[in-house]
Amino acid sequence: MARKAHSLRRHETAMGYFFISPWLIGLLVFMAGPLIASGYLSLTDYNLLTPPTFVGLQNYRTMLSDPNFWQALQVTFYYAVLSVPLDLIIALAMALLLNQRVRFMRWFRTFFYLPALLPPVAISVLWNWILNPQYGILNEALGFLGLPQPQWLLAPQWTVPAYVVMSIWGVGTWMVIFLAGLQNVPQQLYEAAVLDGAGVGRKFWNITLPMISPVLFFDLVMGIVGAFSYFTQAYVLGQGIGSGAGVSNAGLFYSLYLYQKGFSELQMGYASALGWVLCFIVLMLSLLVFKSSALWVYYGGGDRS
């Protein structure tokens, strides 16, 4: 009996490893191996054609005095600080609207969500035209409203805001997540609040916001990580202006800079070091959000998996 149980357990172990083997092999070959290699490469000078030469921490030291590195950091942070809160607020507002048990809700949800799924290259190309300072519809609309008409991608100070405006069009994914969060809020809470005489504003601040704060938290982390992975739009819209990153590198997002260093200039060692710094920054920011979440995220009693 004991022997049978033992062999059963061995069988189960063998089966388990058999079924997860694709992922395990993939993890070693496509992730762990490259990660280790990248750690080493970041300490070398390597152009793919000649063997890497070890240079110690030189790449990291170079970064400190590389104006483009600081520019990339600045552009990325500026974008994240503007776009993440703005997009989240807009997405939440849209989800609140859709949560009013309105008719045709499915249609409205479809309209709001659709742009988030379209190919980023096509979206960028379209917005390049929309943001055209002379003939684009955005400036035409602004002019109609009597507002100033910026030069957008052709003016360094308006480049990042142009990307932020474009990002609003893609908030559909956040909105869907918020909407689901809103629909999970127990109705009894609102009913009790109404009996206590709470108005719309009180209900939002004291019930809705605390109840969806875990979702908000998830979106905030994802938004920050997303800003550091922002590439396609930066590449397509920066294309053909200056050195491929907008006027005076005003659109030099971090990922774009990493791409330029690694794949245009073949500075594989330096690009690896840039990758590790990015990893470190994302990790720190995520930790910061995690640690601070205790202060503002409300987890209801108990049954969270």
Partner: protein, 296 residues
């Protein structure tokens, strides 16, 4: 809201209060619809602008104020745009890449998910946590070393770097499918087990057919991801005959940078399949997002 309103209504005794509450409700409802319609218009205008621009004759592009309805509609723009670069070829390449990626992702991820969901084995918990942790690793850090790996393997300028990794599963999809597998009652499999079916048969004949919603969500996500991907094709594909639609469109914009009507025509055609897939499979997109997003 309606239930709330009616309950509140029953409670209020005075008729006057009821009337004013009804009026306030109606006003609030009108404001909500106004905002919804306004926002919808804002979100749809860019797409409308895309299509009208695509149909404009060249002399109507650079006029101010803008022409909203092109006259005459230049349907020939589509043919001109799509034949200037071999977009048919690009579409074929994209389909091959997206098809293979989807196949690999669905099958391999389901297999791994089955391993995690069904068996207890030493190291399972740790490996599962490792898998979740890999979701947090930013892809940019792998860009350079993976490129070097594929370069050494001689895979540059082929579809291999874009498709082969999918056949090893993807952490995000494995997680998604595993959550679904966990909900399949064990009575179903016990019966099959007694009938002498082996694990592989149970996986293929019971788990896979029962998990169609989750597998479809993964397929749709995976296809959309591969169709929309730009960075990987940009890095790995050099010769034009291997280009995907996204690479082709990016190059097209570089070449014809002021012929907005042609550029918009090409963009319209490249967006269209995603719009169609979206309308056919919207349910799965939303389910997929919810399965990952809300559980947080």
């Amino acid at each position: 809201m309606m239930a709330l309103a009616s309950r509140a209504r029953r409670k209020s005794s005075s008729r006057q209060a009821r009337l004013s509450r009804q009026a306030a409700d109606r006003l609030g409802r009108a404001v909500v619809y106004l905002l919804l319609v306004g926002t919808s218009v804002c979100f749809l205008i860019p797409l409308f602008w895309l299509v009208t621009s695509a149909l404009k004759p060249t002399d109507e592009i650079f006029v101010f104020p803008q022409v909203w309805i092109p006259h005459p509609a230049e349907w020939g723009n589509f043919a001109r745009a799509l034949t200037t670069l071999p977009f048919g070829r690009f579409a074929f390449n994209t389909l091959v890449i997206a098809g293979l990626t989807t196949l690999g992702n669905v099958f391999a991820s389901a297999m791994v998910a089955y391993g995690f969901a069904r068996f207890r084995f030493p190291g399972r918990r740790v490996l599962f946590l490792v898998m979740l942790a890999t979701l947090m690793v930013p892809g940019q850090i792998l860009l350079v070393p993976q490129f070097i790996l594929f370069y050494k393997l001689g895979w540059i300028n082929s579809f291999a770097p874009l498709t082969v990794p999918a056949f090893f599963g993807s952490a995000f999809y494995i997680f998604l499918i595993r959550q679904f597998f966990m909900g399949i009652p064990s009575e179903l499999t016990d019966a099959a087990y007694i009938d002498g079916a082996n694990e592989w048969a149970i996986f293929v004949r019971i788990y896979l057919p029962l998990s169609k919603p989750a597998l479809t969500a993964v397929a749709v996500f995976s296809f959309q991801g591969a169709w929309n991907d730009f960075l990987a094709p940009l890095i790995y594909l050099n010769s034009q005959k291997l280009y995907t639609l996204q690479l082709g469109l990016s190059e097209f914009q570089g070449i014809f940078h002021t012929q907005w009507n042609l550029i918009m025509a090409a963009s319209t055609v490249i967006m269209l399949p995603m719009v169609v897939i979206f309308f056919l499979a919207q349910r799965y997109f939303i389910q997929g997002i919810l399965m990952t997003g809300v559980q947080g």
